[in-house]
Amino acid sequence: MKLVRWFVLLAYLALAAAPLAWMALSSLKRRDDTIAPHAKFLPASSAVDDSASPWFEATLAAYRDLGAVHAGAQESFLGHLGSSVVIGLLSTVASVALGTCCAYGFSRFRVPGAKDWLFFVLSTRFLPPLAVVVPVLIMYRALDLQGTHLGLIVLYTVFNLSLAVWLMKGFLDEIPRAFEEAALVDGYSRGQAFLRVVLPEARTGMAVTAVFCLISAWNEYGFAMTLNSSGAVTVPAYFAGLQGNIEGMPWPQIAAGALVFVAPITVFTVLVRKSLLRGMTFGTIKQ
């Protein structure tokens, strides 16, 4: 039984990690080596002449090229990464701020129809982006928000509110009311109690919420490709937009870029690993 367990686990681990390992290898290649008819899977430190050999010369050129503008693009990968960072971070801050306030309202006050409102908030997440993107596009055209950082920031903020509200409500519910009541007795106003007593207690929850808002904004593609097709282009839309490139896809740069792109997300996820599941299920499962 134990043997079977290990076998299953290791077999899956190997299969699941293989594409990632291949990506890491590809990021060290030159383009010709990524599409060679004889797979190159062994990095070597010097040039390899034999085209049928599994060895390839490892190089960091792809990482260096991340700052270069590729044919068919207007900006380098780093430029697009900048857009992703600005849009991801600001929308995350906004979602967490609004979501925390809203969740606090639902957690501590009697809001008429609270349950219905909460489920309405959750249900907004079910809508396929493609079903609402045209009206949003029309709206953004009128407001001149198409192709701007601000446009996607607003959209991702709204898009992530359901997550932020649900997660934060769970975290706030866990903070004992006695804390605030004590503060009120001490002469704090409601607002002061919220800011000075509740928020510090909710720090962890806010961090977890922020990570999950960031992930979904970071990886979003449907809105990004349609609303920001030629300005403030984020990384997923940038890479996908290279398809049909006459010089072919720059595979080493894509591999290197994808690794750089996922690195911060991985770090954040490890930091909040204890609340990972909670974040992924909108707080409906509290590990």
Partner: protein, 295 residues
């Protein structure tokens, strides 16, 4: 007291108001826009709208294209969710006990889930390429005659499913693991005293006790898989008859063909389905939460 309750209510609305208003606005405007334009010949570029009555809806219901996309999406959701659930559950069983390096293994397993589907879909084009892709080279070297994963009409749909399984099995695993961990060890001990067979323990204790949490997992994945867009766009594009899903067909209709009216009618039909699903979902969450099954 009365005035404090008043300010309390005011404060409550001040807290929840902005968020709710934003969500209502960003949902109601598209809804109204879609409903109105679905009865017109609206195009992406300019031109005044002209009413076409129910013609767009007639096309949605008659044209095989839409029914096909719906069927394909349903198949995708069912297959993706069940395979991921089964695989994830098995993995969770292997990870139930603690061992050295478990955190490292877990983190590695979770990485695919954090990747951008649009970028990964693109990258799998390289891995599964029929000519120089590493998968086919390896299979050929082992003596198989590998298929054309991304271009053969019998395979491309399943290849996309495979990528989805690779990305999202960890999610199911994580949830299943939480479910397993929430079962008190005392129950297992009692079963041991009763000399229940391992199979019986699994079917009578482990599965039923995990079921509510797994139900949540299924619903979360199903709503996500229903929106499948990024992978299909990256692998075959929106106009491939063998892989067209609801979202990619919408993209094709609206952004390639420019038929906003027809797309809106289709969106409204999808919306009805989504609302139905959302109702099931929210009821279920409500039930699970009120029972407070999660530890």
């Amino acid at each position: 007291m009365n005035s404090s309750a008043q300010t309390g209510r005011g404060l409550a609305w001040a807290l929840v108001g902005p968020t709710l208003a934003l969500l209502v606005a960003f949902n109601i405007f598209p809804l109204v826009y879609n409903i109105v334009s679905s009865f017109t010949n609206a195009e992406l570029i300019g031109g005044a709208w002209r009413s076409v009555g129910g013609a767009n809806y007639a096309r949605v219901f008659e044209d095989e294209l839409f029914a096909g996309a719906l069927r394909r999406t349903a198949l995708f959701v069912v297959c993706a969710v069940s395979v991921e659930l089964a695989l994830g559950f098995v993995l969770a069983l292997t990870l139930q006990r603690d061992f050295k390096g478990k955190q490292v293994v877990l983190t590695t397993l979770l990485i695919p889930m954090m990747l951008s589907p649009a970028v990964m879909g693109l990258y799998w084009n390289l891995v599964l390429n029929g000519n120089y892709g590493v998968v086919n080279q390896a299979l050929s070297a082992l003596g198989f005659d590998p298929p054309q994963w991304l271009t053969d009409r019998d395979y491309k749909f399943w290849s996309i499913l495979l990528i989805d399984v690779w990305m999202w099995t960890p999610f199911m695993m994580l949830i299943a693991l939480a479910g397993l961990n929430s079962i008190p060890t005392s129950i297992y001990e009692a079963a041991q005293i009763d000399r229940a067979s391992p199979w019986k323990v699994f079917t009578r204790i482990t599965l039923p006790m995990c079921a509510p949490v797994l139900g949540l997992a299924v619903l979360f994945r199903a709503t996500d898989a229903l929106k499948q867009f990024d992978l299909v766009m990256a692998v075959t594009g929106p106009n491939d008859a063998a892989t067209q899903t609801l979202s990619t067909l919408l993209y094709q209709v609206v952004f390639r063909d420019g038929s906003v009216g027809l797309g809106a009618a289709f969106s409204c039909v999808i919306l009805v389905l989504v609302i139905a699903l959302a109702t099931v979902f929210t009821r279920y969450i409500d039930r699970v939460q009120s029972k407070d099954v999660n530890a």
